[in-house]
Amino acid sequence: MTNRREFLRTAAAATAGGVVTGGAAAASPLPLPLHAVLIETTFPQTHAFGASLATAASAPLLHLRQGDITAAWLQHIAPIWQREPVALAGLTLSSSLFCLETLTSLTPLRVQFHAEHVLLPDGRVQHRVLRGGDSAQLNEDHLHRLGPLWPTHLADAVAVHRRADSRQRLGPSVAALTPSLPDGASLLTSWIIAPV
């Protein structure tokens, strides 16, 4: 039986080889191959997400602290993005997404999926999918109902996210500006940056 990892590897190879799997106007049926998964280590919720997605995507897991992407950028991302625009995903502070998105300038890379997760002081989490929910088959209500299991479900959804239609143009996300948060709340951001 083909497991999810093997499926994703096959999908990645097929995508890299330029296999055309559908009409130009249709979203690719293949999940996006991910080059790396980034998580903000100062929040426990990110670890389940990172472990699950990195395994599913056979991608390295890069750890960020306090939103600082410098090491990940210099050591892993910049060298590969100079050669080819590969996809990344993460559950990080919004500033990390903003920095990476800014660094995509003049490339075909765009933020294709973007969701916000407001961690409330009482342990509840408010989810808001801002972009790409359909391609990830991600449902905000489902995330709410999952309670503390939301990071793993989110990772599953990101793992099967479809590449955006190449004719679908995408502008900047709103990662630079954060929503107003309740007292004591924190904001995590999940995202995919990928070529269009």
Binding site: R65, Q66, G67, D68, I69, T70, W73, L74, A78, L93, S94, S95, S96, F98, C99, T102, L103, S105, L106, R169, L170, G171, P172, V174, A175, A176, L177, T178, P179, S180, L181, D183, S186
Partner: protein, 511 residues
């Protein structure tokens, strides 16, 4: 697709086609989504009709292409807005001052043309970031430092032209002040080299910044008289060591001799690092000695010299009654792994992006908005002026902040430039348009209040450059009128960055 103001669709399409011929179709951006990537991420008018946005963007890769793009713009009277990397966040980013301008994106011109270790200089193109120059120097194993600002992803040229500063030693952390020679495309497409670069086969372009005759480089700082395509910079020879002294004083009035001593040490070039001045603005922790103000004084240089300079610093600071002096560990360069993990990297010439992590929730900023704009007036570098500014801040805070409803960050007293003190206040910008509108009103109010005291900004967000420029009104705005005279002469069609830093071409003046 939006049209530039006062340009018809036929002419704009003709210009776009010409630019596609010049730079390649893939480097001319006209779709709404692609052009939106040039929005100012921290715009205080985000998603409002007044947000300043581009109509298109064109990204040349050579000087010749820049010349051709400018000539086409002149032919069709299309306003251009040149950016290097466009990451001047809090001061406008990559968005034009004049909405509808076409962004002239120079990021593809990213060659480090020369780094001379013996004479410690570099010659770079506008798309070279601090990361790029740092990587180049590191890969070549050159004993040189760059001077990165916070953050390090910006253009070396762009930051200098915007008036940016860094965090290592003087004179290198004054980025425009550390430049030596420019190459500039004028509005008519002609290419000019400044200083010694005007000599055919020049051998000393980066050895002497003044050259012969009137010096024109200043026209291109925060300017719109040309498009800078090359720029030389003096670099800091890698020092052996750095050491920091911290001085704390208990009484507010002790700030006066504290600043005087700092000034003397800096003006004598004993302290050459970027000093920091902090006021507690509140009570000290229980049991701790009261600290009204503290100063940090870093010194870079050969280890023996640094130690001797620190002794001299200690002697002078000890003359302030009650001053408590703490000498930090001497840090040797190059940094080992332990030191690298401990230090603030920009103080050691290492670019990074860690500053963005500081924009999250904290005790000082319990309601972070993500974005911000910066109010950066220059005040006299005296203790009396700092105390006056602190009083000014406290006296006006309630009214400008709507009784405390609006939270500002600061003031932060910065001394990146020799003999200069900047008293910065940050205004958070977020997604809430009502909040942003209140912040805009507060920003303008601060500008006006400060100007009434004789303090004005050295740099301003794009949407407030007119307001700030009007502060400089001595003798019926004589300086602005002189700049406009030059603008009209060198850019008669007003195509280069109209409105940048309050300088408008004739046909848009008073519009």
């Amino acid at each position: 697709m939006a049209l530039p103001p006062n340009v018809n669709a036929t002419d704009f399409n003709s210009a776009l086609n010409a630019w596609r011929q010049t730079v390649g179709a893939e480097w001319v951006f006209t779709s709404d989504e692609d052009v939106a990537m040039y929005r100012d991420a921290y715009s205080p008018w985000w998603d409002e009709p007044e947000e300043r946005v581009a109509s298109a963007a064109v990204a040349p890769s050579t000087v010749e292409q820049v010349q051709a793009v400018v000539r086409t713009a002149n032919q069709y009277r299309i306003p251009l807005y040149a950016i290097s990397t466009g990451r001047n966040l809090a001061y406008g980013g990559s968005a034009p001052v004049y909405s509808g301008s076409v962004v002239l994106d120079l990021k593809r011109m990213n060659r480090v043309l020369e780094v001379d270790e013996r004479n410690a200089y570099a010659l770079v193109e506008p798309g070279v970031s601090y990361f790029d120059l740092y990587n180049h120097i590191t890969e070549k194993k050159l004993a040189l430092w760059i001077d990165p600002p916070d953050p390090g992803w910006g253009s070396v040229i762009g930051n200098a032209l915007d008036g940016g500063g860094g965090w290592t030693a003087s004179p290198f952390r004054d980025h425009f002040g550390a430049h030596c020679g420019m190459e500039v495309v004028l509005a008519n497409g002609e290419l000019v080299r400044t200083g010694m670069g005007a000599l055919p086969n020049a051998k000393t372009w980066q050895h002497n910044r003044w050259g012969f005759g009137p010096w024109v480089d200043g026209l291109f700082r925060q300017g719109n008289m040309g498009v800078v395509t090359k720029m030389g910079f003096h670099l800091m020879p890698r020092p052996e060591a750095m050491q920091m002294m911290t001085v704390r004083v208990s009484q507010e009035q002790d700030l006066i001799p504290l600043v005087d001593t700092l000034n003397l040490l800096e003006n004598q070039h004993v302290v050459n690092g970027s000093t920091q001045l902090s006021g507690s603005f509140g009570a000290s922790p229980a049991g701790a000695p009261a600290t009204a103000w503290s100063a940090q004084a870093p010194v870079y240089g050969p280890e023996r010299v640094v130690r001797a300079q620190m002794e001299h610093c200690r002697e002078l600071f000890s003359r302030i009654p009650g001053a408590r002096i703490e000498l930090g560990d001497l840090t040797r360069v190059p940094l080992d792994e332990a030191a690298l993990a401990r230090v603030r990297k920009v103080n050691f010439g290492i670019p990074d992006l860690s500053t963005f992590g500081l924009l999250g929730r904290s005790a000082a900023d319990p309601s972070p908005q993500g974005g911000h704009i910066d109010f950066s007036p220059i005040i006299p570098r005296t203790g009396e002026a700092v105390l006056e500014y602190a009083r000014f801040y406290r006296e006006n805070l309630a009214a400008v902040s709507e009784g405390g409803a609006l939270r500002f960050l600061g003031p932060v007293f910065m001394t990146n430039w020799d003999r200069t003190m900047v008293a910065m206040i940050m205004f958070p910008i977020g997604r809430d348009k009502t909040h942003n509108a209140r912040m805009r009103a507060a920003f303008v109010k601060w500008v006006e209040l400060a100007a009434a005291r004789g303090w004005a900004e050295y740099r301003a967000p794009a949407g407030f450059q007119d307001v700030c420029a009007k502060s400089y009104s001595w003798n019926d705005h004589a300086l602005t009128r002189f700049r406009e005279t030059i603008k009209d002469a060198v850019d008669p069609n007003g195509i280069l960055s109209p409105g940048r830093y309050g300088v408008w071409p004739k046909h848009l003046r008073n519009a």
